[in-house]
Amino acid sequence: MGFNPATDLPARESELIRVMKEAVDEYLEGTTGAGRAADSIKKDLEGEITGIYNSFLDLPDPADFATEVTNLGRALEQLTPYGYNEKQEEGGHPVNHSANTTLSSVSSTGDHIQDWTGDAATAFKDEYGDRFLQVMGSQFNAYYVTRHAINAEAAVWQTAREDLDKLSNDAIDKMRHVNDSTKGDWETGLKVFGAVVGITAAVATSPISSWAAVGAGVAVASTGLEVVGKAGETKNETLNNASPGGIVESLQDALGKIKTEIADNETEIRNAVNGSLRAIHDAPRDFLLKRPALADAPLDSGSYDKTRLGRP
């Protein structure tokens, strides 16, 4: 059974309080006025621990993005005028996708009618056929950004859940052993620091051919696709486990860092998507060509000349 923040974190919070109370009693055992001091410390720490995980109970599930990432991958295969590659599994080789050569039929159609005399024929050739592949490249880039942004979002929640699972268990374990003389340091590597994405807001620029191959390390289990950017890094933290109070404070700090990293990662994702949206809005005809007059040829009029295709 996997980690479920909504049920596991409250249970671990209760367990941490229970173990903390035993640890405080043991910590103060034999000191003057131990009973009253212990009660006061336990009450304070219980107040600190209660609700400590409340911000993390309702988290997105990385599995919920799997269908979208898979389907957008299928869309990419249709829309690629140039071909591209992606890393689709941890440690795997890039998967190469060939260009969809069917797309070039639009420009060859423009070539077929380039000598026709009608203005609709000329306009189709110049303003649609000749620009089609380039604009499909822009649509491909926008799909690419979107797919990897969604995959990065899945990675944020996968790594955040892994960190929360480990941290909440470690806190109980460290509390249980706080009075051991050979307990060692409390070190942990927070993975959510490595989920940061380096998605460029490229839409109407050069073709993407091997963007995802830059990614290293974090493969999203639910999507099977690696994250773009400096993924896979962890930030090592040495936490204070010298006393029950130190453990609670360290836990609060680490949770705060996870929160900050989630926000920073998601800001990068939003910036990438918003940057792409801006590029589309700034140059809409680089993303979607104007409907050509030929598409609206009045076929039901019965008059050939009204189609404005002209003669070869």
């Binding site: 249709q78 797309l103 998507v273």
Partner: protein
């Protein structure tokens, strides 16, 4: 002076193929992209307690752009294809040699 005779028939055959086969093929590819484009992901990115910086609304806007672009591209390709087919079938200045050649080409295209 434009093309006539067999040359015209060949020319019309080429354009007929583009409208009847080639553009619908491209439209089908773009349609496959469109049917695989999600409408929204913001229900999956939603979370409680104001955690993080939810990219769901931005992603939804982007998906909206992608859906519109692929849907409109598919429609344009089908409409231009239909226009080319209509123009070839209703070309009003074909001589007998052009008509014979075009009919032959059309049969090949339609398989």
């Amino acid at each position: 002076m434009g093309k006539s005779g067999e040359d015209l028939g060949i020319e019309l055959g080429r354009v007929y193929k583009a409208g009847y086969t080639l553009l619908p093929e491209v439209a089908n590819e773009v349609r496959t992209a469109w049917v695989n484009t999600p409408v929204s992901v913001s229900s999956s990115t939603a979370r409680g307690s104001g955690l993080g910086s939810d990219p769901g609304p931005a992603l939804d806007s982007m998906l909206d752009e992608l859906n519109q672009a692929t849907k409109e591209t598919e429609e344009v390709l089908r409409d231009v294809g239909a226009a080319l087919v209509w123009c070839c079938l209703n070309y009003d200045r074909m001589d007998q040699a052009a008509q014979t050649e075009f009919d032959r080409q059309r049969k090949v295209v339609e398989g």
